[in-house]
């Protein structure tokens, strides 16, 4: 696909530890296009955050990264740090669950946004100040000129999140990575921040990777969804297809685990996620899967088209047939 802003091919990330190698990401490929909001869903340890920390170049030095990560056509794996930094600061931006990790407590909020602008754009200090205030207004901070002169501790949690978003979009990035940006927020404030993120998608045309464990949030904002399990992509497709007609047993398991309004008995996924030092052979989900058969222990299943979605389950035909019967 030529219009992909972010293009990842066969990405693998592992961390050496005393007990062996933790295989956090085990060969994944995907594209995110301009104007597209891709939801990345998975439970803790699925590799969803590690994937995007690799894109951002924020993994520790000992992490082994192979494969290809291209942002707007520029390869980021295996090239000098200096070149990478230029691309990343301007073309890729990231927002986090805790805005205090991104905001400097001893600098005024407006100043921090200005610095982001001055680092990558050829503008005067005064222009940067004006632009910073515009950005704060754009993310819904009231009286932006006054607020720009305040410090992060004078902001509420929701306001800090807005300020961090303003910094992230200061250089009009091609791709914005949002890692659980609303998880720490209260429900009513989460709703506000989701609106800010959606408006950025519409107004700036940025591609957005939205990482979350909250399936409701994904249903609200994502165009496409990618479900991750044990460092692999289990299923991918348009949001409505994934939620209404999931094909992978893991996706189904996740949706079945959610409490519904009927109060009927919940169906948890048995067992717990695998130890990534020694992931099971073949499909990593097979040890928890009610549909698993001998064939699942064989090859690592790749993502293959199935109807309107792509799924990484070798038994998908039989499973769907069983469900219908």
């Amino acid at each position: 696909m030529s219009d992909a802003v972010l293009s990842v091919r066969d990405l693998r990330v592992s961390f050496p530890t005393e007990d062996g190698e933790v295989q956090a990401v085990r060969g994944i490929s995907f594209d995110i296009a301009e104007h597209e909001l891709m939801g990345i869903v998975g439970e803790s340890g699925s590799g969803k955050s590690v994937t995007f920390l690799a894109v951002m170049g924020l993994l520790p030095k000992q992490a082994k990264i192979t494969g290809s990560i291209k942002v707007a056509g520029q390869e980021l794996v295996g090239i000098p740090d200096k070149t990478v930094r230029k691309v990343r600061g301007k073309k890729v931006a990231m927002i986090f669950q805790d805005p205090l990790t991104a905001l400097n407590p001893v600098h005024r909020v407006g100043k921090q946004v200005e610095e982001m602008i001055l680092a990558h754009q050829d503008v005067s200090d005064r222009e940067a100040t004006t632009k910073a205030i515009e950005l704060l207004e754009m993310v819904g901070i009231p009286q932006p000129a006054t607020r720009a002169r305040q410090y992060p501790h004078e902001f509420s949690g929701g306001m800090r999140q807005r300020a961090m978003i303003a910094m992230a979009i200061a250089n009009d990035p091609d791709i914005l990575i949002a890692d659980e940006p609303t998880t720490a927020l209260d429900t009513t404030v989460q709703a506000q921040i989701l609106e800010v993120i959606q408006s950025i998608q519409h107004e700036l045309g940025a591609a957005i990777a939205f990482i979350t464990h909250d399936l409701g949030v994904v249903a609200r904002i994502a165009d496409r969804v990618q479900v991750m399990y044990a460092g692999r992509i289990a299923e991918r497709g348009e949001a409505q297809d994934i939620f209404i007609r999931p094909t992978h047993p893991y996706t189904k398991g996740l949706l079945n685990s959610l409490p519904d309004s009927q109060g009927s008995r919940l169906i948890p996924i048995p067992g717990s996620p695998p130890n990534m030092l020694r992931p099971p052979s073949g499909c990593a989900f097979r040890v928890r899967c009610v549909h698993a058969a001998e064939v699942c222990a064989g090859e690592l299943p790749d993502l293959r088209p199935y109807g309107v979605v792509e799924t990484a389950c070798v038994r998908v035909d039989e499973i769907i047939a069983e469900m219908v019967l």
Binding site: E43, S44, M138, V139, G140, I141, P142, S156, G157, G158, M159, D186, T187, T188, V189, Q190, A191, Q192, L194, E195, V196, Q198, S199, H202, H213, D214, L215, G216, V217, V218, A219, R220, A222, A239, Q240, F243, I244, G253, L254, L255, N256, S257, L258, P259, D260, S261, G263, R265, L266, I267, P268, I269, S272, P273
Partner: protein, 345 residues
């Protein structure tokens, strides 16, 4: 007559906070809980819902006197708890238990699981076969008796929460306060814990005070629901009634803010996006505490605190102008399902 297990009346909890900035010493009063009343019957689950700073966890701790209530009454099966001395309270603790959110922090890492579960038996001087009791409890929460010899770090988050529940069951309580018991767990694990809580209630007839911020979880487990905002109860009623026919503007806004895992529903539904943040409990708004963010607040809401009153049978609300059942706040204030960034006033 119903079998009333817990009756909380007009509970207040104020925290005096001293903060010094240079030489200046400032005194604050945090109004964490301001006049909360509710009851729980035998075998019933009351869900206590609210955002951070609503005071829901403080209520739970005041019931057990892990925090001393500033004012108000807490009656357990007719016994007033707030005036008991330490010994009397300790004797009653066997019947009132609590399970916390973080299964990592609430278990002693140096004690075997068996010792952790048996500890309440030691404290209360119960002379019986501890080993057999522990084995039975482990079995009851879906673990196996040989797990007794292991240490907490050998277990996953979901298993640890099961251990926490087993420990709470050791002394055969009749009321368990569950303070965000599943919010630290992944959804696939959370479902198993909720099922376990359901089963235990069926088998032993336990009563639960289920404190949580996740509305879909609360709906699933609760018979009745109490909605808190900034230290006060906004609405109390049967689960179904609160979710389908809520009459308080805050409850409707909160429900409308929760994303539903169905993209088709999400695309078409009307949504109320509340402006601004929760006000500070140090200086709560006069009158109705929700009025600063309420889209239909009027003068009376500034001047007069709305009492929690029974607007419809068994459906209570603290609002001067409650909505009609079935009436939608979004329609009333003409909110469109569009994209706006609401400034924070």
């Amino acid at each position: 007559m119903t079998d009333r297990v817990l009756e909380v009346t007009d509970l207040f909890k104020l925290f005096e906070v001293r903060r010094s900035i240079g030489r200046r010493v400032m005194h604050y009063t945090v109004h964490a809980v301001s006049g909360v009343s509710f009851h729980i019957d035998a075998g019933e689950t009351l869900g206590l819902v609210g955002e951070s700073g609503s005071g829901k966890s403080t209520v739970g701790r005041c019931v057990l006197r892990l925090l001393e209530p500033t004012f108000g009454s807490v009656q357990y099966r007719g016994t007033e708890l707030t005036t008991l001395d330490r010994e009397e309270m300790r004797a009653l603790r066997s019947e009132l238990q609590i399970v916390f959110q973080d299964p990592y922090a609430s278990l002693d890492p140096r004690m075997t699981v068996g010792a952790t579960i048996a500890e309440p038996l030691e404290i209360h001087g119960v002379k019986s076969d501890h080993k057999a009791i522990v084995a039975e409890l482990l079995d009851r929460v879906g673990l196996s008796p040989e797990h007794a010899k292991r240490f907490p770090h050998e277990f996953s988050g979901g298993q640890r929460q099961r251990i926490g529940i087993a420990r709470a069951l050791t002394l055969n309580p009749s009321l368990i306060i569950l303070d965000e018991p599943v919010s630290a767990l992944d959804v696939s694990i959370q479902a198993g814990i909720l099922n376990l809580l359901d089963d235990l209630q069926q088998e032993i007839g336990l009563s639960y005070l289920f404190i949580a911020h996740d509305l879909s979880v609360v709906r699933h487990i609760s018979d009745r629901i109490a909605v808190m905002y900034l230290g006060r109860l906004m609405e109390v009623g049967d689960s179904e009634e609160i979710y389908e026919r809520s009459i308080h503007p805050y409850t409707q806004s909160l429900l409308s803010a929760v994303p539903v895992p169905n993209p088709e529903v999400e695309r078409t539904r009307h949504r109320i996006v509340l402006e601004g943040d929760l006000p500070s409990p140090v200086n709560p708004p006069s009158g109705c505490r929700f009025r600063t963010r309420c889209p239909i607040a009027f003068e009376r809401c500034v001047d007069e605190v709305p009492e929690l009153r029974e607007v419809h049978p068994n459906h209570w609300a603290a609002c001067h102008a409650p909505l009609m059942p079935g009436q939608n706040l979004a329609d009333l204030v003409g909110v469109e399902n569009d994209l706006r960034i609401r400034p924070n006033q």
